[in-house]
């Protein structure tokens, strides 16, 4: 019988009814301390420390602080120290402050080569869907489930429904993976993928680099999806090859991975078709990632919306964002630019942004920040001289971490500040209480930095 990528992975990991085996458990400091406490209370061990990997990312200052002892915020420091202590106690490898392998958990997994096709991967973080870009089944879990996976290496899970989104044609000039996923969320809505494992397929997806596929899978959760995935292909194998975690017998692994893509005739509970050629550069205007329009559009009018719930939500969003219906998106002045987060902080993202900034200056009214996704991304970018491009343009070049994506560290927006951000969430207060976030691609963020407002990247030179 024809099977989908999702079905193949699911079935290969079924231990028992509604119990699936987890190949890799990624751990970070925010959602794990209570799980480790639970283990201690129950006098339980970590079943497979060799399938577990930890890093510190959410709390980490990005201004060059060398060790956890120097995190000025006491609570942040306590949390990072707890992670280090817990990993030591339970034998889990941890890349904390000071490690060259430290970085955002969803950046370091792929970078170390521990994210591979066909695997099941979980982490106490909703953006775990990122790893699905490799043809893995990856999803975010809560702290109780973190404890469960630590203790049993398994997860109690009902089989989700399946969805395939087929993107026909290629993305146009200046249109990126970020625009593709924002447009998709805008179309399906923030609950549109709820209960589904989603496979992104089609010509437009095949043409994308691994970094871009990660950007797409990363934001699956913003449409409520359980997991997002892309079938593995040569691009995937090439990316994994030679990395520290890559299989010793790589050819045998490629042989196995080659069997993973959905068979012809595989069935899905829902199928969606999208014309990739029609997608434009996107900008969010509201307080959910689904409140998004093309950069050439205007701020929408809530009164024109059909459902009372949408109308009500849009009105509140516009009040929070201090925007008026009918304002062209390109007329919105900005205070801050943030290039970073598990969505868009990889080397290709930084190259794209730097490519547009070379020889230019950011608007004098702006503060711009570039936060590489990991220490390795940072090192590579510096080897390529990208940091000099950003710095001469007027950007701050920072250490790696989650940074201003969620503001659990000192990198936050001030109340009322408006930021073009390459991150994934424009929720109220996400980047700092009272801060206003517009989600965009790295290219759009770079161009907006120069102009001090959004521009249509396709016509900007």
């Amino acid at each position: 019988m024809a099977k989908s990528l999702f079905e193949k992975i699911w079935e290969a990991h079924e231990v028992d009814r509604d119990l699936i085996y987890i190949d890799l458990h990624l751990v970070h400091e925010v959602t794990s301390p209570q799980a480790f406490d639970g283990l201690r209370l129950g006098d339980r061990k970590v079943r497979r420390p060799d399938k577990t990997l930890a890093t510190a990312d959410h709390n980490v200052p990005t201004d060059g602080t060398p060790t956890a002892n120097l995190i000025a915020d006491e609570l942040s420091r306590v949390q990072v120290e707890a992670l280090e202590r817990n990993c030591d106690e339970f034998g889990i490898p941890v890349y904390s402050l000071g490690s060259e392998r430290r970085g955002i958990v969803h950046v370091i997994g792929p970078e170390l080569g521990v994210t591979q096709p066909g695997m099941t991967i979980v982490c106490g973080d909703s953006h775990t869907s990122t790893h699905g870009a490799f043809g893995a089944l990856a999803f975010g879990i809560g702290t109780s489930e973190v404890e469960h996976v630590l203790a049993t290496q398994c997860l109690v899970q009902r089989r989700p429904k399946s969805m395939r989104i087929d993107y026909a044609g290629e993305l146009g000039f200046g249109v990126t993976a970020k625009d593709l996923i924002l447009a998709t969320i805008g179309r399906l809505g923030v609950g549109g993928m709820q209960g589904y494992a989603v496979e992104y397929a089609g010509e437009a997806i095949r043409a994308l680099s691994m970094e871009n596929r990660m950007t797409i899978c990363n934001m699956t959760i913003e449409a409520g999806g359980r997991a997002g995935m892309v079938a593995p292909d040569e691009t995937t194998f090439e990316y994994v090859k030679g990395r520290p975690g890559a299989p010793a017998d790589f050819d045998a692994a490629v042989e196995r991975w080659g069997q993973l893509p959905s068979d012809d005739g595989a069935s899905f509970d829902t199928e969606v078709e999208v014309d990739a050629t029609a997608i434009s550069p996107m900008v969010t205007w509201g307080t959910t990632p689904g409140m998004v329009v093309q950069v050439t559009d205007q701020v929408p009018d809530p009164n024109a919306m059909d459902s009372p719930a949408d109308r009500d939500h849009a009105k509140r969003a516009l009040a929070y964002m201090d925007l008026r219906p009918g304002t062209p998106m390109t007329d919105i002045p900005l205070d801050r630019i943030f290039i970073g987060s598990c969505t868009n902080s990889r080397i290709s993202d930084l190259r794209e942004a730097a490519g547009l900034l070379d020889g230019r200056k950011i608007a004098s009214s702006l503060r711009g920040m570039v936060v590489p996704g990991s220490q390795q991304v940072k090192t590579q970018a510096e080897e390529e001289g990208l940091h000099e491009v950003f710095q001469s343009a007027g950007f701050e070049w920072r250490e790696s971490g989650c940074s201003a994506c969620l503001g659990m560290n000192p990198d936050i927006l001030q109340p009322g500040e408006r930021c073009a951000s390459t991150s994934n969430r424009n929720f109220e207060g996400r980047q700092g209480a009272g801060g206003r976030t517009h989600l965009v691609s790295p290219k759009m963020a770079a161009a907006a930095a120069v102009e001090g407002r959004f521009v249509d990247i396709r016509e900007w030179s």
């Binding site: 231990v15 028992d16 119990l19 085996y21 190949d23 925010v30 959602t31 301390p33 209570q34 406490d37 209370l41 129950g42 079943r47 420390p49 060799d50 399938k51 915020d73 306590v78 949390q79 889990i92 490898p93 392998r101 080569g113 521990v114 066909g118 106490g124 973080d125 909703s126 999803f139 975010g140 809560g142 702290t143 109780s144 489930e145 469960h148 203790a151 049993t152 290496q153 398994c154 109690v156 009902r158 923030v190 609950g191 409520g224 359980r226 520290p244 890559a246 299989p247 692994a253 959910t288 719930a309 949408d310 009500d312 939500h313 969620l406 969430r425 929720f427 109220e428 207060g429 996400r430």
Partner: protein, 189 residues
């Protein structure tokens, strides 16, 4: 962790008439730095409460809009709701991770369609019978669906980890059959 068993939840209803309420609103990030499971209630809806945008009584039941608990996987959102005083949340839909987190902490998530949510909100009081799978209020008796296994765990307050450890032989079999051998070994990177 073992939970308090759920049988009947009854009492007054607090109403949060908003859709797509994300976990960043339920418990903002600055309160995620605690390393305990307790004490989150006082920070519930911190920005909305502090600005006076909304007020919510700590009744046993909260009724709200679709896609409640979207966004971040932070279980702190559930700990905060429970600590504040809620034993059940009724909504037309929940985000997947939030829903699961509720069921691991004895906070009962009840899915009713929008019209019925409004009816319960209007009634102001309700009685939820988990065994019966009904919400009983002045506007009527509404049946809700819930996964049998989840219901069983909630009614008996069972510890998930202990239950899975009882299936330890199956996990041993899976591993000894070589089915867990393909992944990377993180301890030898």
């Amino acid at each position: 962790m073992p939970m308090d068993p759920i049988d009947i939840i009854e009492g007054r209803v607090a109403v949060l008439d908003r859709s797509d309420v994300d976990t960043d609103q339920i418990i903002p990030k600055q309160f995620l730095k605690r390393v305990e499971r307790t004490g989150f209630g006082e920070f519930l809806f911190y920005d909305w409460f502090r600005s006076g945008e909304i007020e919510l009584e700590a009744h046993p039941i909260l009724v709200t809009g679709r896609n409640f608990g979207s966004g971040s996987s932070r279980e702190h959102a559930v700990w905060a709701l429970k600590d504040y005083g809620y034993d059940a949340v009724i909504a037309p839909s929940f985000s997947d991770i939030f829903f699961t987190n509720c069921t691991k902490n004895g906070l009962l998530p009840v899915v009713l369609d929008e019209e019925r949510c409004r009816a319960v909100a209007g009634a102001g009081e309700a009685r939820i019978d988990l065994d019966d799978q009904t919400v009983n209020c002045a506007e009527g008796v509404f049946r809700f669906e819930i996964d049998e296994d989840i219901k069983h765990r909630l009614i008996n307050g069972l510890d998930d980890v202990a239950m899975t450890l009882e299936r330890g032989e199956k996990i041993d079999e899976f591993e000894s059959a070589g089915r867990a051998d393909h992944g990377p070994i993180t301890t030898s990177l």
